[in-house]
Subunit: 387 residues, 2 copies
């Protein structure tokens, strides 16, 4: 449910939550989503939000609006959840394999949603054709292009792209919808000029692939790129039809460390309790550890002081000096304190917020977002996990 | 449900599981649990299994038997789950804070389970006494001792131990049950002689604290130590009444890297599909990434080649050369291959098992264990997560 700006009568306070708990600042989420929609509109492309970070229908509804079209997911469980929730076209952005065809078909049959699968493999395309014919369904495919990350996909210029397109286009039961790429290497730098260069590389790779397919006489309706950094910093996206991005909804210290967002835009955080003082050792112990924060330290390449997350005042969300979670055990987080005043400022039992190092991974520890307007908890939004 | 050794009629094969999926080898689990029970019996102490790794009533039942007594947990959600499942005495091994008293009281009232809380704080003890009197209940406490890890707890010899014991012992509504410590620093070495020394330090710290409390005229019934490495390598545990340990049920590459277990004892693994070949880049892509394996690389301090997990044959569980997951993204794991033969051996769509780097964190990504006898899936055991 989306909450209207006025604080409803049933709002509760942070004190009423049992810690650790996942918080989501609705004002920030709304601003972040509006900004990316404006950015997509300015670039003249559709925005297909990647919902792997949020995994929540309520968040998807905040992300919606012009020019948002369809959704992106990273698992079939997410695809099923969002299809049942009403999404009509979902791009499943991990290479599908034959063991997952039956699940994909079930999602499409039961919900009417069109699932766009991706592949870079002739073998998968052939197996998909056989499956589709056997089951009298149509499977839609995008061809995955490698624009420089070198994880999956075919390199632009590789004749295998046109060969794979022909295989899909000619197969009864398969439908060639286009090409896609993900410039994941845009996370590998904190230099925005380099991000801009990678955004150009991402665009050029996928546009070249689309042109090769069209030159061979086949359709290539969708030309899809995706990453929040390249979406924000591309000089232009001529020839691209859509951008996929997800972390822009929440932001985190990893994106902050790369100058992609500002600290006051980070919308997700973890509410934790101080559960101990180690006065001799100079540390404060939180009940947010490896499971509550995750062990992801992607930010630390460019922001080593991020630790497992910056510690903030629970009510205002403002940072508390340079406090950060330096060490985690399963359910314990240790915050070194150089000045004794912090023991008085943060007594045992007091609350803090921790900004996530990498929100995609931190959020996956939780079943729900506690939704905030200011410091009032105005709603609880369920989210899914697993496979 | 516990499966008898004979494979039941409803067993399915690994091919029937959608990947990624968590596997649990029941033969190995049973042997690991039996071995730790024998070890505790030989040391003359009770075994209070730590269930934070398993989070499963079915696994707890395999761990049960003489001299197992009660359970250990790391969250109140685990406490509630195991109390509702029939556990009669549960040690909640993270410092409790006033915001959690009501939940603890509710668990005890609704299930009849006695919850043993821990603290090292006079303020918490006083707040607990006030809460207990207000709510006409009894809260049981162990005092947390720092035996060298320097996370939480009072140092042995600190007069604050006896002062805190007196506060608890004298308070109406509180019951002083004993002392506990956790030698978490036993994970900081791969030298078994050093583990043995730490086990002595852990024992001596908590026995000294117990003796100080008794010398002041108070009871100290429970003297509790806990970590799988120190449980296996302590020379003796005279004066200790119980050991808490958990990872011994499953083992993992972190424990293997420290010579605490053998590879053929590792009971938990992740079933994954090969979803891509990057022939130019020399890598195989799996559908097991940061969420399916976790980003925990605790093993790598002593076993850097562990990456995010060793890759094994799906059916036999045997390692495939030196293949390991070197890089993870949210739903992708990248396995470098130096020899082209691996592409033929592991075609797109084929299955592998990945041994977890740190099983406590890997398992937390899953709702259930797929239970194996050999390579037949004989059951599905639910597990809980979150808080």
């Amino acid at each position: 449910m989306i909450i209207t700006p006025a604080q409803p009568a049933h709002a509760i306070s942070l004190r009423d939550l049992e810690t650790p708990a996942l918080l989501l600042d609705l004002d920030r989420l709304e601003r972040n989503c509006a900004r990316m929609r404006e950015r997509a509109a300015a670039l003249g492309v559709a925005l297909r939000p990647h919902l792997k970070t949020a995994k929540s229908l309520d968040v998807a509804r905040v992300a919606a609006g012009e020019p948002v079209r369809g959704a992106t997911v990273s698992t079939l469980r997410e695809a099923e959840y969002f299809a049942r929730g009403g999404e009509r076209e979902i791009l499943y952005a991990a290479g599908i394999v034959p063991g997952k065809f039956a699940h994909a078909a079930r999602i499409m049959r039961e919900t009417g949603c069109d699932l766009l699968c991706i592949t870079d493999s002739l073998d998968v395309a052939r197996a998909a054709a056989a499956f589709a014919q056997r089951n009298a369904i149509t499977l839609s495919f995008l061809i995955e292009i490698d624009s420089g990350e070198h994880r999956g996909g075919l390199l632009p210029g590789d004749p295998a792209i046109v060969a794979l397109a022909k295989e899909i286009d000619a197969a009864e039961g398969l439908r060639l919808r286009g090409v896609m790429t993900h410039a994941g290497h845009s996370y590998g730098t904190d230099d925005l000029a380099e991000v801009r260069r990678i955004a150009g590389e991402e665009r050029d790779a996928v546009v070249a692939a689309a042109n090769a397919i069209r030159a061979a006489g086949m359709p290539c309706e969708i030309v899809s790129v995706g990453s929040s950094p390249t979406a924000l910093h591309a000089e232009h996206l001529d020839g691209v039809t859509e951008i996929r991005a997800g972390i822009y909804m929440f932001w985190d210290l990893s994106q902050l460390s790369r100058h992609i967002c500002r600290e006051e835009e980070i919308a997700a955080s973890v509410l934790a309790s101080v559960i101990g003082h180690n006065v001799q050792g100079g540390s404060i112990i939180l009940d947010a550890g490896a499971l509550a924060l995750s062990k992801d330290i992607t930010a630390n390449r460019f922001l080593p002081e991020a630790g497992y997350g910056f510690v903030c005042d629970a009510e205002s969300g403002e940072r508390l000096g340079d406090l950060a979670v330096a060490t985690v055990h399963q359910e314990h987080g240790t915050v070194p304190v150089r000045e004794a005043r912090w023991f008085a400022r943060l007594p045992v039992g007091s609350l803090v917020r921790v900004l996530p190092n990498h929100a995609c991974i931190t959020c996956a520890g939780y079943d729900a977002f506690n939704v905030l307007r200011g410091n009032a908890v105005v709603d609880r939004w369920e989210r899914i996990n697993g496979w």
